[in-house]
């Protein structure tokens, strides 16, 4: 039985140039893009994806469980200067409960002259 032919040679570029072009043209100040520039941008994007993935895996904790996690990526954006332009779109995650506690603390810190009510607050471990 014959297998369907699959391309085994590495393709020069995998990302579709047409889609790359759409993204590039969404920049209002760009008039036109020559074919070589389009190709290079697509190829550079592939290299970037590989670099981001491998760097994050190498420096992150996901590999302890044989995985690449969102936290690894977010960590990279924060720690590595080259990837800092991604910081806004890869924010650190925070547990909702921690966030709520942060809000409460900010509120308490803002109220001047109050007794410290911490003794009355209990951590609800049963939630």
């Amino acid at each position: 039985a014959e297998m369907a032919a699959r391309p085994s040679e590495p393709r020069l570029v995998s990302l579709p140039l047409s889609r790359i072009r759409v993204i590039m043209k969404s920049s209002p100040e760009v008039s036109s893009i020559n074919q070589d520039a389009l190709f290079l941008t697509a190829k550079a994007t592939e290299l970037f994806v590989q670099y981001l993935a491998s760097y994050s895996y190498k420096h992150g904790r996901g590999k302890e469980k044989n995985a690449l996690t969102y936290t690894d990526l977010s960590h990279t954006a924060e720690e590595c200067e080259t990837f800092q332009f991604l910081a806004d779109i890869l924010p650190k995650k925070i547990l909702a409960s921690k966030y709520l506690k942060m809000l409460e603390k900010e509120k308490r810190d803002g109220e001047v002259g109050d007794d410290n009510d911490e003794d009355e607050e209990e951590e609800d471990e049963d939630k």
């Binding site: 759409v22 920049s27 760009v30 520039a37 994806v49 993935a53 895996y57 990526l73 332009f85």
Partner: protein
């Protein structure tokens, strides 16, 4: 032209494949991580385009060219991309040139098929002439 939000995304299957190529075999990539990398890639394209465009404007050009993109990479501190980019560009240019010439040959062939009939007649005359020439040469050599 208004783009739909999904048009600014890159195809998931391709992104996943590229990620897998960069990691050791068998490493799991969470959907969240994959999605984040895809978004990062789109942002990268925008950032690179904006940067390249600055170089084009400096050169008073309206069309982004290869040099602008390469300069952008350096500016963005991705010097490590320079060598592989330049090498692939060479291959790409050769491929494009080959395709162009293949199209030219295809056009030529189409034309020549139209003229096939008249050319056959010409060829017969040509053959006769060649034979005569050869005979003349032989005669000369003998002399």
């Amino acid at each position: 032209m208004a783009e739909r939000p999904e048009d600014l995304n890159l195809p998931n299957a391709v992104i996943t494949r590229i990620i897998k190529e960069a990691l050791p075999d068998g490493v799991n990539i969470s959907k969240e991580a994959r999605s984040a990398i895809s978004r990062a890639a789109s942002v990268f394209v925008l950032y690179a385009t904006s940067c390249a465009n600055n170089f084009a404007m400096k050169g008073k050009r309206k069309t982004l060219n290869a040099g602008d993109v390469l300069s952008a990479m350096e500016e963005m501190e991705f010097q490590r991309f320079m060598v592989p980019l330049k090498e692939s560009l060479e291959v790409y240019r050769r491929e494009q040139k080959g395709k162009k010439e293949a199209r030219k040959d295809k056009d030529k062939k189409a034309d020549s098929e139209e003229q096939e009939k008249s050319r056959e007649e010409d060829n017969e005359d040509e053959d006769e002439r060649l034979e005569e020439e050869e005979q003349n040469e032989e005669e000369e050599l003998d002399n």
